[in-house]
């Protein structure tokens, strides 16, 4: 599904130049569940953003579903993204002004799904993440774990092939964290490819393979399954 080769990403500010990704090469197969680990600042989020087509690399190749996307423009990336990729963030990033239902519904609106369909699909995923009873609440009224479950629901409502999760349990206690990990595992078992950044060895244990990074490069890979 994903194959990146010699990928480079450099951040230039007025004074310094940070090499966030340094000739990084990774491959992720369809249906895999990959964990990315490494110290803070080693480029994990940068990698995820590029995989998620939110950012473009400076050099190297990025093949997504057999297509070279490294040189895609903003518009094509956005198009590819909204149909294929779901995101889960550490800080949930739910929209405060919208209810649970409306938050989850949003990606469907943007991909142009009809209102009746939307209702059905949102309810389906809310059911799946067991948050249906809170559908009319606002994010502030939910616990962290519940919020993250909503975020996961939102990430999967469009049935993406790939889910990118950046420290999804980072703001959660272990109990709630496990719930979310359980959810991701289930999704993976149903065929969704997952790339997850985490600091927790325990969470990484849910994955098939751990990629360890340092200074924008892979150091080792542990295959768990």
């Amino acid at each position: 599904m994903i194959k990146i080769t010699e990928l480079e990403k450099i951040y230039r500010t007025e004074e310094v130049e940070t090499i966030a990704l340094n000739k990084l090469s990774i491959e992720v197969k369809d249906g895999e569940f990959v964990a990315v680990m490494g110290p803070s600042g080693c480029g994990k989020s940068t990698l995820l953003n590029i995989l998620g087509l939110l950012d473009d690399p400076d050099k190297g190749s990025f093949i997504f579903n057999q297509i070279e996307v490294a040189d895609f423009n903003e518009r094509r990336r956005a198009d590819l993204r909204k149909h294929n990729i779901g995101f889960v963030f550490q800080s949930f990033n739910l929209i405060d002004e919208l209810t649970v239902f409306e938050n989850v519904e949003l990606p469907l609106i943007y991909t142009g799904v009809k209102s009746a369909d939307r209702k059905k699909r949102v309810e389906e995923v809310l059911d799946k993440v067991q948050i249906m009873h809170r559908r009319n609440h606002y994010p502030q009224q939910l616990s962290g774990g519940q919020q993250q479950r909503v975020a996961v629901a939102r990430a999967v409502v469009n049935k993406p092939k790939l889910i990118l999760a950046d420290e999804p349990t980072g703001n959660l206690d272990s109990h709630n964290g496990n719930d979310v990990m359980q959810l991701l595992t289930e999704l993976n078992e149903q065929g969704t490819t997952i790339v997850m950044v985490t600091h927790s060895e325990h969470d990484a244990g849910y994955s098939h393979r751990i990629i360890r990074m340092l200074d924008g490069q892979t150091v080792t890979e542990n295959i768990l399954v």
Binding site: S45, N49, G52, L54, D55, A78, R81, K82, H83, F87, F89, Q90, S91, N93, L94, I95, D96, E97, L106, P107, Y110, T111, Q140, R154, N158
Partner: protein, 798 residues
């Protein structure tokens, strides 16, 4: 402590430059407008106040009733002056008869200049407290004297002593300079009055004046009074009310003339009477502009408050930190006040600069000579006081609201400025746009009315019509010579003489009767005496009958009337009807030989009155010339000038053009139009500035949300719509408020005019669409800026 507050305030100002510029700029513009309007109002309400006896001086006016309608005017019969002095003397300190101020030809030595002057009773200079530079208040004691303004003295005599120098008024009256007065200030009734000659001289100057000495029905004079020290205007009013009526001839008693005092304080601003009741006048514009000034300032203050609070919400975290390290609430309150005051003071300084820059233009539009009263302590007290209050009010919300935050909440990030916090802001935005929209709609209506009246059919051809007033007897008997030579030169196509110019009617009369007349019809007719070629010169349009003709000697008793007269008189078949003028033995019969389309000669906003044109070569004051349309006007004018100089060398050549004179009738409305354009423009500018600031604030506040939505697949259009929608909604609400409001007010304004346009829906359409477009433009800039930003950045801030 204060220094520290100030330092931090200054840094905050510099840190958030964009919003500082918007904040200070908007406020400064609003303040500058308020200043200008303030100066204007100050000037208006202080009109005439430079006369020392301002509170005691009045002009006599009278109400007369005809056809159940009361009309009010300031013309007075000559004998009333003496009557007031002898039989009502204890009411008055001075009673001063005057002529109407007008241009006269003044000659001294070789010099020959047209100057504005008046004839006045000898007490005039004393009553009006003129500042005598030379001579005394008794300078007009003897008939053949004149007092002149210092600039007129300079014009005639340079640095020589003018006292006792001989002069001639209108090539006829010999006088000697006995006094020089300081030029009368511009913002007074008598501004530009260059000479004053004695009443006693006026009485002997013309036969008709002498004949009016016992004529109670000739209201051709003015009377100014200063009331006695111990009394009051209303008391005097009661005493003199019937002073004229009791002397009126029995047949004039039905007009029920009532004399009253028009106090000086009302001369300028409360000039309108409707059916005998004072209904205002320019005071309405003073009120209107006060309201506009307050509104524009309010708009600017609203911006300031909106942006300050919006900005302060961003600082919730700072407040939390400050509190947690021990800042007292009072100190925080102080900090916000200092910041707000700093901004206001900078804005005030800037507004003074702006006002100074705009003032010349503003003076021009308002035809005033206002200056910024830099040396006036009250000005500074008012200006700084106002700024201080604005600063306190605008600073109050952030100061009191923000400083009350609980630090833990703010720091833990659970603090959210609630949805409700935005509501006052939204109300304020709606207010702003309602005001701006109302101003825009008002402006369009004013211009519509001007345009509508300008396009009104006038019944004659106004192009190339030159009008020359016969100011002195030197003109008399020269018409034939002038006509001959001017026509031969090819400069003039046609010319005639008339009693009135084409843009005014000098005379109205009653006492006409005709067969089948409804006896209750006793309104005045406009009466105009013209010579044979008048109609041909101005190309009037005959509807029935014929024009005056030299072939009929009987035309000396022929009249032509206009369509309004036909309607007023109720004539079925006007041509041939005999109209009798007068009742006694002197009554004369006139035969209607023609009917012309209404000629618009007076106010373009009023209906044309019933008018009678007589054919008469003696009763004429103006020469009307139709310039040759095939020649350049410039060339023709100089040819006309040289011919006039040749035959009438002693009178300076002076002329007017009918079209230009007519255009000047719109001056007041055009001034209103220009000013309201200016204010409406500024109002919308200030509102947009605020909107711009607010949009940027909202966009910033929602960066994260925008980022999330983008990640979820929102397109640029989705995001633009998201951010613009709310503002657009506010503008729509404003439209709903502004439309009925402005419709109501502008409809009322239009009611002042008898000939008026109506407000059509497109006025609202255009204003609405215009404002919506401007709003979208303003907001879109911020919306798009936020929408194109890379979401990665906004999501990173965790």
């Amino acid at each position: 402590m204060f220094k520290n507050h100030f330092k931090i305030a200054w840094r905050n100002l510099l840190k958030d430059r964009m919003s500082s510029v918007i904040n200070i700029g908007g406020l400064a513009v609003g303040m500058a407008v308020a200043l200008l309007i303030g100066f204007w109002i100050y000037d208006e309400v202080n009109f005439n106040k430079s006369f020392k006896n301002y509170d005691r001086i009045a002009q006599l006016m009278q109400h007369q009733t005809a056809n159940g309608n009361i009309s009010t005017f300031n013309g007075m019969p000559l004998p009333l002056g003496k009557e007031l002095q002898t039989n009502y003397g204890n009411n008055f300190k001075y009673v001063v008869m005057t002529s109407w101020a007008g241009d006269g030809i003044i000659t001294a030595g070789e010099k020959n200049l047209s100057k504005r002057g008046i004839f006045m009773d000898e007490d005039g200079p004393r009553m009006f407290s003129l500042k005598m530079i030379e001579g005394s208040y008794d300078a007009l004691k003897y008939p053949n004297t004149i007092i002149i303004s210092s600039s007129m003295a300079k014009a005639f005599f340079g640095n020589d002593d003018p006292i006792n120098k001989p002069m001639k008024i209108g090539h006829k009256l010999d006088v000697k300079v006995t006094g020089v007065y300081e030029d009368i200030p511009l913002n007074t009734e008598f501004a530009g009055l260059e000479y004053i000659a004695p009443w006693s001289l006026y009485l002997t100057s013309e036969k008709w004046i002498k004949q009016s000495e016992a004529a109670w029905d000739n209201n051709s004079f003015q009377i100014y009074v200063q009331i006695a020290d111990h009394t009051a205007f209303d008391a005097v009013d009661r005493n003199i009310m019937h002073s004229k009526n009791i002397h009126d001839a029995p047949e004039d008693k039905k007009y029920n003339a009532q004399v009253f005092l028009n106090p000086m304080r009302d001369w300028h601003l409360r000039t309108h009477f409707e059916n005998g009741i004072r209904t205002g006048g320019p005071i309405e514009y003073v009120r209107l502009f006060s309201i506009i000034g307050i509104f524009v300032l309010l708009l600017a203050c609203i911006n300031f408050m909106n942006l300050s609070t919006a900005r302060s919400e961003k600082r919730a975290k700072e407040v939390g930190i400050r509190k947690s390290i021990g800042s007292l609430r009072g100190q925080l309150v102080m900090q916000f006040y200092v910041e707000s005051l700093l901004i206001v003071m900078v804005a005030f300084a800037l507004s003074l600069v702006l006002a100074q820059l705009i003032l010349p233009w503003f003076n021009d539009v308002a035809s005033k000579k206002m200056i910024i009263p830099w040396n006036n302590p009250f000005f500074w007290i008012a200006g700084l006081g106002f700024s201080f209050i604005t600063g306190i009010i605008a600073g109050s919300y952030p100061a009191l609201y923000l400083s009350s935050f609980q630090p833990i909440k703010v720091l833990k990030g659970t603090f959210k400025v609630g949805r409700l916090a935005a509501i006052p802001r939204k109300i304020l935005v709606v207010m702003q746009f309602s005001i701006s929209l109302a101003l825009i709609i008002g402006t369009i209506v004013v211009y519509n009315q001007i345009q509508f009246s300008k396009n009104r059919p006038i019944g004659y051809n106004r192009n190339g019509l030159m009008m020359i007033r016969m100011k002195t007897p030197d003109f008399y008997g020269k018409f034939g010579l002038l006509e001959n030579e001017l026509k031969n030169s090819g400069a003039v196509e046609q010319m005639a003489e008339s009693h009135s110019p084409l843009t005014n009617v000098y005379s109205s009369n009653n006492g006409f009767s005709w067969p089948g007349q409804n006896p209750s019809l006793d309104e005045d007719f406009e009466t105009i005496w013209v010579t044979h070629d008048f109609g041909k010169t101005i190309s009037w349009q005959l509807k029935e009958g014929r024009d005056f003709s030299k072939e009929f000697t009987s035309d000396s008793s022929a009249i032509i009337i206009n369509e309004s007269a036909v309607k007023y008189m109720g004539l079925k078949d006007p041509v041939g009807t005999i109209v009798k003028w007068g009742t006694d033995a002197n009554a004369k019969n006139y035969k209607i030989i023609g009917v012309v389309k209404d000629l618009l000669m007076e106010s373009p906003y009023d209906a044309v009155k019933q008018t009678i044109y007589f054919m008469d070569y003696d009763n004429v004051n103006w020469i009307i010339l139709k310039l040759n349309p095939n020649k350049s006007a410039k060339q023709s004018i100089s040819q006309v000038e040289s011919v006039f100089k040749k035959y009438i060398p002693s009178v300076p050549f002076d002329y007017e053009f009918a079209d230009r004179e007519f255009a000047s009738k719109f001056a007041a409305e055009e001034r209103i139009g220009k000013l309201s354009t200016f204010f409406a423009g500024l109002a919308i500018f200030i509102s947009c500035l605020g909107l711009f600031g607010l949009a940027s604030f909202v966009a910033e506040q929602r960066t994260k949300e925008i980022g999330v939505r983008k990640v979820l697949g929102a397109s640029l259009f989705n995001l633009w719509r998201l951010l613009s929608k709310d503002f657009l909604l506010l503008v729509m609400i404003s439209l709903l408020i502004a439309v009925p409001l402005s419709y109501y007010f502008m409809n009322n304004w239009l009611l002042h005019y008898n000939y008026r346009t109506n407000i059509s829906w497109w006025v609202f359409g255009i204003s609405g669409v215009g404002v919506i477009l401007i709003t979208l433009l303003t907001v879109s800039f911020q919306a798009l800026k936020a929408a194109v930003a890379n979401p990665v950045k906004s999501l990173r801030s965790e």
